[in-house]
Symmetry: D2
């Protein structure tokens, strides 16, 4: 099936799966085939997959995607791509058919790196916003008042302005829909663990990223992995 | 001096100072005087100050300000106000002469509550952004690439879009000016400690807020309290 | 009732209670009366209580106690005392009637300081031991094997050697009795919060102490404050 | 050289080194040879090394060691061993020639698992003890007073009783020798990172272990990796 294809797109749960599938693909792919992996996997495996492709004279791109289920149905997905200029140029029209924004982040693995760095910011800022609402509640501050201040000043972030974790201020956020995802807590945990793996291997200090991973792990272990990640405010409240 | 004034504005370092000064003010202030405190202090002291004022039949407002030295010179300060509707209505024109945005956050102490909640989000998200850049560097991701992705997707926040902690992407950020504040790390530490005091007293769980306070404390103890708070990226890098 | 007493012992939940009761005591206590407070309260209030006593020419001692319900019934309580040499000398026989070990830790408040420092170590090391068992379980390591190694080498601590949080290795530990306290999680949370209050006021960096307080807060908010504090291993396991 | 040996002992920095060396060893080792690896490496690599040995009909044992430079010269090292009963029985006399205590912790990898669990407790409790001394200093509590209380009550642990991180109470501890190791901070960081890698892979929640790893990483990045790990108290003090 792959033998005649010019472009092959994979999307799999883990790095080991990608390496296994690409390992088979390259046995039948002709030289010059473009392999695009849209999985969210660890940076080290992504780089190994590029090496596999190069060994078979194939072009390759790591191109994880963000935007969640909402983005997929609305066509507003963002692809973060890592690989050569040639591979990116060839892949761009393919990815544009699926997503709204395609960013070339750098060489092999740069797409995965950008995704885990972005989602680490997201996981941290969401917990930060949830803590602020939980503290505000105890201090008698209404949700709307905190939203009005923070969303228009230095506390503004996607986690409050677009995806507010309490019902009311942002009607489209999962908090208004009983925390139905959206972006499931188990997926956020997966991305935060990928970030920690990369940080441990690369020697980067990420204290809040480490703690955010632990908190989503506790939340997941309480049985809430299938709910939207903004529901972690309930663990903070008790 | 205060005896004939209709409005008195105070701005002092700590709650004890405000209580001491207001304690003297009310001995000479006539009934109906409006007392506005623009200090950033603990919520408990702010509430006690309101009680002092009420006991002397004065109107009162807690109205801490945000925006830093840049906001002060540019006239873009935000005031977060707590107190009665009457006090807020009387104070609004006074505050509008000093700042661009005046938000009535609720009753006594709500201004202080809103400020520490907002700044807790800010302190957490800034460290999160710094960790993401420090991790990205180790993974070979350029600053511009991470900025391009995060500032336009779910990682977007004031700490990256407006105040980016690495030089380049946002030319006006302190990172481009050798981390001259801006908003000094010692002031961020002060606000994070106020948030922790309030959380301990009120019984709110704020794990990332607690850790952010500890990290800025370590940074301050290394002698960097006078630098912009975004310079904490250098502690993460070592 | 107090008027004729030579020694008065108080044991109350919070600093405010102690200050209120001692404030009344000194109005009727004759000069030279010895006031002993065995409460576990914040250091600042303990020092204020000493000042109250001194103002009435009374001797005073802060003398919080550790050892839990087991220690009380077995007569093995430890008292940590703060105050003058004279006060300690007068109090020693009184305290020896109640406890096994009486330590003079220093001047006013030193008893409270020693207790919160000790219990901060305890809270941290207990979570550390629980994490090690939880990790060991995932790695296929038996409880007994980890106990045999850690209790006899550099991992040894009261939390594993004497109060092991898994059933089996130490038959008398609460883990063998369905985590009936012992030392309730809510009381550990109280002490960790006192340590955080003192650290914030004194300017000490205590990153693990802060996190331990947050974790016991989450555990308490899940409704487990009445169980032994070693039951926090269940939150880690999920 | 190996071809005629009955027992081969390896001690190498990382899992990749062990797999590489054992991969060569088994090409020349005769069936029944006993391979003992005394490295401290990741659990996953240790298990793979056992598989390599089994494939060549060799016996194998993972047997990391603890006790530091002091233990090596004093002959008081502890070996934590993982592998079959046969392998352990054969290895025991060999290990007894090098160390004082030899513990069979379980099957393949159990030695590594026990070591990282033990050292995670150690790293956490050492920071906890350092935080307690740093807080006590700010509260006016002498080192000796805190030592006298904690070393004899529920705060007791190897980190205070045997290896006290402030000079004085335990004359043999590195604190009395300008923090010359002993057990270097960089090695503690290595073990804490191995624990985090194992926890991420196995799905264990270890919030204090994660934070301890981050703190030793910051300490190492400040250039202190070569000093004894108890010197981390200086980072807390600033």
């Amino acid at each position: 099936m792959v033998a005649g294809a010019e472009t092959v797109v994979t999307m799999l749960p883990k790095g080991a799966h990608v390496l296994s599938v690409w390992g088979e693909l390259i046995t039948s792919a002709k030289a010059g085939t473009l392999l695009i992996d849209c999985s969210t996997i660890d940076v080290a495996s992504a780089r190994k997959a590029h090496e596999l492709a190069a060994g078979a004279n194939c072009l390759s791109l790591d191109a994880p995607v963000s935007g969640g289920t909402g983005g997929a149905s609305a066509g507003t997905l963002t692809f973060m791509a890592g690989g050569s200029d040639d591979a990116f140029a060839r892949a761009k029209p393919v990815l544009e058919a699926m997503g709204k924004k395609i960013v070339h982040c750098g060489g092999n693995g740069a797409g995965q790196a950008a995704k885990i760095c972005n989602n680490m910011i997201l996981g941290i800022s969401m917990i930060g916003v949830c803590e602020a609402f939980a503290l505000g509640e105890k201090l008698g501050l209404t949700h709307q008042a905190l939203f009005d201040v923070a969303s228009t000043s230095s506390g503004q972030c996607w986690s409050i302005n677009t995806y507010c974790p309490v019902p009311g201020p942002v009607p489209t956020s999962p908090a208004n829909n009983d925390y139905k995802p959206g972006f499931a807590a188990a997926l956020m945990l997966k991305d935060l663990k990928l970030a920690q793996e990369a940080a441990l291997a690369a020697g980067a200090a990420t204290p809040l990223g480490a703690e955010a991973a632990q908190l989503f792990d506790l939340f997941d272990k309480q049985g809430h992995g299938g709910r939207d990640f903004s529901a972690i405010i309930e663990m903070l409240r008790g």
